[in-house]
Symmetry: D3
Amino acid sequence: MYYHDKRLQYPVKVESPDPVYARMLQQAIGGIEGEIRVAFQYFFQAWGNRAPTTKYRDMLLHTATEEIGHIEMLATAVAMNLENAPTKVQEAGAADAIVGAVMGGENPRHMVEGMLHRHLLSTGMAAFPANCDGVPFDMSHIYASGNIAADMYCNVAAESTGRVLATRLYNATNDPGMRDMWSFLIARDTMHQQQWLAVIEELGGDAGTLPIPNSFPQEKENQKFNYNFFATAADGSPPPAGRWTEGAAMDGKGQFSVVQNQPMGEEPVLGPARPDSGAETQQIG
Amino acid sequence: MYYHDKRLQYPVKVESPDPVYARMLQQAIGGIEGEIRVAFQYFFQAWGNRAPTTKYRDMLLHTATEEIGHIEMLATAVAMNLENAPTKVQEAGAADAIVGAVMGGENPRHMVEGMLHRHLLSTGMAAFPANCDGVPFDMSHIYASGNIAADMYCNVAAESTGRVLATRLYNATNDPGMRDMWSFLIARDTMHQQQWLAVIEELGGDAGTLPIPNSFPQEKENQKFNYNFFATAADGSPPPAGRWTEGAAMDGKGQFSVVQNQPMGEEPVLGPARPDSGAETQQIG
Amino acid sequence: MYYHDKRLQYPVKVESPDPVYARMLQQAIGGIEGEIRVAFQYFFQAWGNRAPTTKYRDMLLHTATEEIGHIEMLATAVAMNLENAPTKVQEAGAADAIVGAVMGGENPRHMVEGMLHRHLLSTGMAAFPANCDGVPFDMSHIYASGNIAADMYCNVAAESTGRVLATRLYNATNDPGMRDMWSFLIARDTMHQQQWLAVIEELGGDAGTLPIPNSFPQEKENQKFNYNFFATAADGSPPPAGRWTEGAAMDGKGQFSVVQNQPMGEEPVLGPARPDSGAETQQIG
Amino acid sequence: MYYHDKRLQYPVKVESPDPVYARMLQQAIGGIEGEIRVAFQYFFQAWGNRAPTTKYRDMLLHTATEEIGHIEMLATAVAMNLENAPTKVQEAGAADAIVGAVMGGENPRHMVEGMLHRHLLSTGMAAFPANCDGVPFDMSHIYASGNIAADMYCNVAAESTGRVLATRLYNATNDPGMRDMWSFLIARDTMHQQQWLAVIEELGGDAGTLPIPNSFPQEKENQKFNYNFFATAADGSPPPAGRWTEGAAMDGKGQFSVVQNQPMGEEPVLGPARPDSGAETQQIG
Amino acid sequence: MYYHDKRLQYPVKVESPDPVYARMLQQAIGGIEGEIRVAFQYFFQAWGNRAPTTKYRDMLLHTATEEIGHIEMLATAVAMNLENAPTKVQEAGAADAIVGAVMGGENPRHMVEGMLHRHLLSTGMAAFPANCDGVPFDMSHIYASGNIAADMYCNVAAESTGRVLATRLYNATNDPGMRDMWSFLIARDTMHQQQWLAVIEELGGDAGTLPIPNSFPQEKENQKFNYNFFATAADGSPPPAGRWTEGAAMDGKGQFSVVQNQPMGEEPVLGPARPDSGAETQQIG
Amino acid sequence: MYYHDKRLQYPVKVESPDPVYARMLQQAIGGIEGEIRVAFQYFFQAWGNRAPTTKYRDMLLHTATEEIGHIEMLATAVAMNLENAPTKVQEAGAADAIVGAVMGGENPRHMVEGMLHRHLLSTGMAAFPANCDGVPFDMSHIYASGNIAADMYCNVAAESTGRVLATRLYNATNDPGMRDMWSFLIARDTMHQQQWLAVIEELGGDAGTLPIPNSFPQEKENQKFNYNFFATAADGSPPPAGRWTEGAAMDGKGQFSVVQNQPMGEEPVLGPARPDSGAETQQIG
């Protein structure tokens, strides 16, 4: 179960509120690279963890709980960037508005546009659980497969795309408060990338975990095709050479090679449509 | 651009058509662990690839193109498992039907239920791009971040959850044709897991790629908190020890340690609602 | 604006309530082939209709309004099929339940399963605006393009897939009341297919409407490639001959022919990633 | 069944067409606070209504039918605000365009941006059933639970968020026609808020309806915890006092009190993964 | 920020694991009536709360934090109901399986079907954030409008549909452990319904809060139509009388009456399509 | 199975990169009128095709394969339009930025806004499979009904809305490279419209295919109502006359006529709620 402290994990300050930036921040809340995703991914991995030990469940709960605090920080940052954003439009027409903006140094409509309206219309100047395009976060992005190695790679993927996004948001602002907040959140992403890779290492690294799942006997897979790069160039030109085209495979259990892809199957012929299946009579034959 | 051969990459045979299994196969077509996802993930990573070399673009195109053929194999397998599935219901009531099924050895309604109706109602006994619950695949699951290392981990995650699913589907059937098809597809997943990890190794492994993105100067991140495991147990009890709680970090650029999480920020106080923002008067104050 | 009559457009009777059939009926309410879709497609086409005449707007309103009554009929049919469906489970375990069902002629859990739970859990034994898999209807399926010919073909598509579904649902029941309801709704689909094609004919048929939009000067399109079937077989084998491979095009403005697809462009080379774009340093070059 | 009149329920006039405002109006059509939602929520509540009387079914049909006319008014308002919006771009580059706009008093691209493209690209200058971010309305927002009191509160929620949105849209325009339309629609929301609360009062108010559902015997709920505010502050600091922390509960069936949340359960220990479940061998133990 | 205790808020025990019931429980996790929804609805209302006092923010945080623990309890209950569920299918065909089930008292395929596959295929026998149809929860259901009275009604709606669902799930099981868990969760829903209504009372009840938002001057709404029930029966027959057709309105600011709906507007005439707008030439006129 | 050539089907050149136009192009990639949709619609129609001949399967594969190359061209065009788009913001505040833009001829923030952020934040300046509002493509738009005539009309609908979109995108740019690309893609849409109508003609045209499905015996549909236009005007005023109100129906199997819609059914009366169904006691009666 869970507890809260009404203070934030790390300070959130905004010197110059910027409604356009508020909108950009939404990507880090409700984007697929964002904090709702990692919080719930770690929670569901913890709550469903099956293993001889509760160690991984426990570890995941620590980090999932931390991430709730990150959503909170970002939601606070969005609201602060919307302070003083306009709720009213004085001007009658768009063309006038933009001229007025340049002449008079203010342009409420332009700022409303910058917000893309939703913060004005739906939330009363606060964050909502959607990305910067307003697409609501959907929970199909919570990856929890029941296989701990697969889940760790899902987590590395989430924290890697997450830190990429965070650095882009750092670069997209000059506000000192926002940059300080990001310097903290980017640091946490650094740690979390390492953390999930450390689990892989603890499980034995490539040799100990691959191929995932390692509990499926490899003799049941088709061993003619499990370490080949299939080339699909229509003219048969070879693919670029790389670590994946020759040498020992990463798991030490095979040798990489290149194979030109060729059909091994036949053209499939399905039965004709049956009389009462809603097809055209021409399909029933 | 692209070409086709009307034959399949690998033979698809079904000895005993099973409409329930057809439904399960949908997960491998339109589930988040499925083949549409990897095909388009690799295509979009290829088409947007920015690097001094086209090598990675090229490699991704080979594998993306192969994956289209996997969707085709699975769609064929679904249609074949639906051969002879019922399109009509002779019985008037559900209770009768189930009794009849046991008595007479046939139960059209039960099989219709097994299919969960959609293959009957929407496709005329063919596959559709949705998972085994009928939830359509949505393209937000195509991860292509513009950072090649992040993308490779997204790909490892996709192929790992994909192979986990494939082995579950192997175990869920006794049909020799289906098991042969899976032995091939599972082998391909083995290769693809290795392939994306091989790119990481070629890029320099942990030290060469972490933290992702490695182009953001680490001195801009808060270096007090970038290699710490934050513990959130309310009673301050320590987290379980692991590779991630002490020793050198995976990238060799820091030392893991444990920190008890404490609020560093304050309770956030947002401004009151403004008069014309659609709030209650009690909020305006 | 709109009015209602609390009576139904056509009688809805159910002799033998069947919760499994209730679930199947959902496809005709909230499926992409269903009645919510056509009602709102015609409404939005009407409300946005731009033409020198209000004739089409008016016609569309008549039919859209009729369709609301069809949703109502189907929602009523779902509720009636759920009369007497179980709300409680007396048995402790699934294995017992199914044995009991066969022995005693009743099987509440089996019927609960047949309903797939949602009618029990979410609606209190009534219809909801989702398909037979429980996927909610989403309004991106309302096609209204601003081009009347395109819209008419969208409508033919909707009524064709709709009538296909309706005949499948007719075949899936033996209940006389349900079959009578479907005999009416199938008849209406027959009319509506004709109706939208009649608009095409009134607009001048193929010659008068194609290519859609016919207001774009055809000399602006690349006239080397506007009536060719492009063949993509990797081995250059010719495509099957058909009405579309030779002879006059449907609009009488060109001649069909076959062309083997070949790349006319080059391999695209995008610029390398820029330093502050969140890429790996290896991509920046 | 349903009828239409091709005239609008209330006049819709636009003095100064404004494509940015057209986009904002979309929120009132296809947003979760919008008119499609209330129309269909009331329809599905009516069509599935189970009660000894058809009174509530009947009442709901009156209001649902009215709401279709509101969608129509708003769709008309969107189209009128798009009159004369640009369909073409004369300028080559964005920087030039904005300068040109200020200099010459026109800025087609800026206006295109204001529309966020969709009204231009997808609808031919007309409304579509999506919110102001272009997210299509999805019918999971149609709340119809089979419990009339729960449904009435869902309706109050819908009309409250709806009127909040409507007043924000009123404030966001100075167009007299648009403000007149909103003065009508805001008035209707006022009525509808009252209407659903009036049903609650008719059902007996708090004492007659709470806790919802009131048909579940309260002795089956855990009576130690049904009127307590659970405090979750990690340091045990008390929550703020309010109407909900002491005194008689709203339904008169209990007394409010405050309880500090403490775990009453244990750490859950799930079984280890089974050998053929697709887990890593390390999880099988 | 947040803390956790690895123990559960309340004990979760399952005597007879039942994979069908596991699937039903998903509705309480990821359904629109479920716990993810309330947790995040309260969090976003708290994080965006604007008022002269932080009292409501604080209260909301207590309850949101409690709800995370409820998701955890339900996720645990799902996993426990999946203990011993089959991961393998021994039988070749469906018809055989059901006969075997009755004869031998076991029916793995039937149970697999009961689970509808997803718990087997995607999670390794654990919960996932979707409803009982497998539709992922999407965050557009997090209602936080910036108006505290509207939000409180959204919360009453959520807790009312939530308790309705909870009592249905209580009735759908005989497992003593599950019923004990539900007796607790149902009690908490009782409290939370009261809690949000208590806020409304503290704000002044109907008179103090209606119409929502109460900060919009009522003289700006069309006062001819703000307390009328609009009747839409095509034949002009009167609507049923009720609390909402006569007498003082709930807010004491108007009198209810009935008005027969009549068009006050005209048939809308949009301009014809413009030449370069992608319409048919027939629309351009 | 499939092959690729790393060159493009047709050249893609951009003279003046324009990030706003990049965003608009997304509609042709991931919009419902776009290329992902047609590619996969044709693939799923091919893979599930049931007929006495493989001719249609084969033809569909040719065109589906071509369409993958169109997605590739558009993804390339998006990336090229994002070359040199800003990744950084130098200015502190929005008001300053717009003034600076006009004064100095550059306006990074404005351009960032034009992109609506996602290309910057999520993709590193590349395309993604979503429409111009950032709504991800969802595969429920892949129409493949198992009825070849219905599918052909779905394809005509897709290519018609697709070509309408393409001409709007042609009009929205002055870039010679972009216009040349569109002249090619518009030509292909011309062909594909004809191609699917040619299949209808080959199947026998209206008489040979209507009503769809033509395999359902028309004597089973209610023959009183299968060629009538139902008029729903509340005052009984007649609908506008057109090809669909009199004369022979399109299929030659009936005569069009007009019927004033009247209720033929009764007010539906559902049973009251049952005691344990989660209703209010007032509904149980």
